[in-house]
């Protein structure tokens, strides 16, 4: 039993630490995030600069901390967009079934057939680069998976006796869908949300790495990764730092998702 819980623990601890870092960065960073210091360029990690400095002499730790705000914000909003619309679409599709279901699911299939990063690239290049469009693009990308998971739960549950009993009480379809069925199918959706969060962080990093996501001077982990690439031989730690934090955050949410699923399946 303890072995099963270990995923959950690792995930929770990782995310808690990163989240703490994010909260701290709202009030305090060791150095101003955009302060340029020509005298301290490419410094290796030291007591003064724990993660070294970049090509402008900016403190990497401060920028990582500030960048975590972007990562969490993008993840949270994108997952919210994806889950709200995905759950809505999946619920309607699964509950009513028939031709509505058929049409919605074929559209979802079509969306899934696109490589998601391509879809996001297209969206960003049409509507312009920037934080807002990045988030919307990532959110839309995650709708299909939420829709599928929600739908399968609804298909399963709509035939159960408690739903029949709710119908016998004369309860409206809308209320049956969201007050009766949704709480009962919520756990796989929560798992998907956790995984979706990890994917959103990765997608943001990828888009920013390509220069299409968060615009400078705002720090973003993906952007730091791409900026540091040029100097990888001069100061490798500059590239390693954002890489490690992206990995930790993604890993954390994956562990969390796995942990929740383990608990659910071993109930």
């Amino acid at each position: 039993m303890n072995k099963r819980r270990i995923n959950l623990w690792i995930g929770t601890v990782l995310i808690s630490i990163l989240m703490l870092m994010m909260v701290v960065s709202l009030f305090y960073t060791p150095f101003p995030v955009t302060e340029i210091n020509r005298l301290e360029r490419f410094e290796p990690p030291s007591a003064r600069h724990l993660l070294g400095t970049d090509n402008f002499g900016r403190d990497v730790l401060s920028r990582i901390m500030k960048g975590s705000q972007t990562a969490f914000f993008v993840g949270l909003v994108a997952v919210s967009i994806g889950s709200v619309f995905g759950v809505l679409i999946g619920a309607i599709s699964g509950y009513f079934g028939g031709i509505v279901d058929e049409i919605i699911m074929r559209i979802v299939d079509a969306m899934m057939a696109f490589p998601s990063i391509l879809l996001a690239l297209m969206f960003v290049s049409v509507f312009g680069v920037g934080l807002r469009n990045t988030i919307i693009a990532i959110g839309i990308m995650s709708i299909p998976s939420f829709a599928r998971i929600t739908r399968s739960g609804f298909v399963q549950h709509k035939e159960l006796d408690y739903v029949k009993n709710a119908k016998i009480k004369g309860i409206s379809n809308l209320r049956i869908m969201f007050r009766h069925i949704l709480p009962n199918v919520l756990s796989p959706i929560v798992v998907a949300a956790s995984m979706g969060f990890a994917n959103a962080v990765l997608a943001e990093a990828a888009l920013s790495y390509l220069g299409l996501g968060i615009q400078p001077p705002n720090p973003s982990w993906g952007r730091m990764l791409s900026e540091s690439q040029v100097f990888i031989t001069v100061s490798p730690w500059y590239a390693i730092a954002p890489g490690i934090f992206i990995t930790l955050l993604v890993l954390g949410f994956n562990f969390l998702g796995d942990g929740i699923r383990d608990i659910r399946e071993n109930r």
Binding site: G97, D161, Y162, N165, I168, K169, I171, P183, N184
Partner: protein, 326 residues
């Protein structure tokens, strides 16, 4: 009193079928049934003979791939011709239903009190506090101990008997005229079963509610019902008062069901069972559907389908031998 004889529910020539890729299948083949006010009517038969489908059609809850013809007249309204919205208005308020398995028929993630309350919320304009006291009153009335605490419990925290009481509370909270109980005691042990039967009898006695009691157990039916319909393969094969049914069963199938009841005198002897099984609804026979299992069958049974024949003022049987001695 005059209202005693007034029919509350009148089903005429109800046929229910399902569309399948292989063509339509008929589950109920033209049944007529009447429930008077204050009456407890039993529908008895083996699994798969159309009892539950009939009940669901009264609730207008048949699955999408089904079709129903005939008429179901409920105090002046034809239920089959209602729109979905109108049907929803009658469900829970005028007609309600109790299921066999109370664990699966209650929402596992909603407090039981809220589930009772929900029915009131849908059909009355009472405010929250009024509904709460009404729910507690109902819970007390059906013998749930400590209603305030039970209100906040989840279904898995209650025993089977208590859960079935909750299901009954949900069914009666809006004062419906008709309650359909689909095998309400089958999943319970015998002592609890007796309590639930007593409770249903009390509900029937103390208010004007009629009950349709569906069961495959004739023993239970005998205890509670005044009138019994015996269903077989989508047909009503016998209609009689509960007393007449047991003293003078007219249909070989009814006789078989009565013989199959375990009795104290027959302890140690082998239990009787009706040979064969209920025909699948895909089987189409010309003659009497019970013929292959019947001990009394003869040539005519294989070719012709018998009509319902009146053998007494309140006793009808669908058998060529009806009226004679079985």
């Amino acid at each position: 009193m005059n209202c005693e004889n007034e029919p509350l529910l009148e089903i005429k020539d109800l046929k229910i079928g399902f569309k399948t890729p292989e063509g339509p299948l008929h589950a109920v083949k033209g049944i007529s049934l009447e429930v008077k006010k204050r009456e407890i009517v039993g529908i008895v038969g083996e699994s798969g003979c159309g009892k539950t489908v009939t009940a669901l059609s009264i609730m207008r809850l048949l699955p999408d791939n089904s079709f129903a013809t005939g008429s179901i007249n409920f105090s002046g309204i034809d239920l089959l011709s209602l729109t979905e919205d109108e049907a929803r208005g009658t469900r829970g308020r005028d007609i309600s239903m109790i299921f066999q398995d109370s664990l699966s028929s209650l929402n596992p993630l909603m407090k039981v009190g809220r589930q009772i309350d929900e029915n009131l919320m849908m059909h009355t304009s009472l405010d929250k506090a009024e509904r709460f006291s009404r729910v507690l009153e109902i819970m007390k009335g059906i013998g749930l101990p400590d209603p305030e605490r039970t209100y906040g419990k989840y279904p898995h925290e209650l025993s089977g008997g208590m859960r079935q009481r909750i299901a009954i509370a949900i069914a009666i909270v809006c004062n419906p005229d008709l309650i359909i109980a689909d095998e309400p005691t089958t999943a319970l042990d015998v002592t609890v079963q007796a309590q639930i039967l007593e409770l249903l009898r009390k509900i029937n006695r103390e208010s004007n509610r009629s009950i349709i009691f569906i069961s495959h157990n004739l023993g239970v039916i005998r205890e509670i019902c005044s009138k019994v319909y015996v269903m077989y393969a989508g047909h009503i094969v016998e209609r009689a008062s509960a007393e007449a049914l047991f003293t003078n069963p007219g249909h070989p199938y009814t006789l078989g069901l009565i013989k199959a009841l375990p009795k104290l005198e027959s302890k140690g002897k082998e239990l009787f069972d009706i040979r064969g099984r209920v025909p699948s609804i895909a089987d189409l026979t010309q003659g009497c559907p019970f013929e292959p299992r019947c001990d009394y069958s003869f040539e005519r049974c294989r070719k012709e389908f018998p009509d319902l024949k009146k053998i007494d003022s309140d006793h009808e049987v669908r058998c060529f031998l009806a009226g004679g001695k079985l």
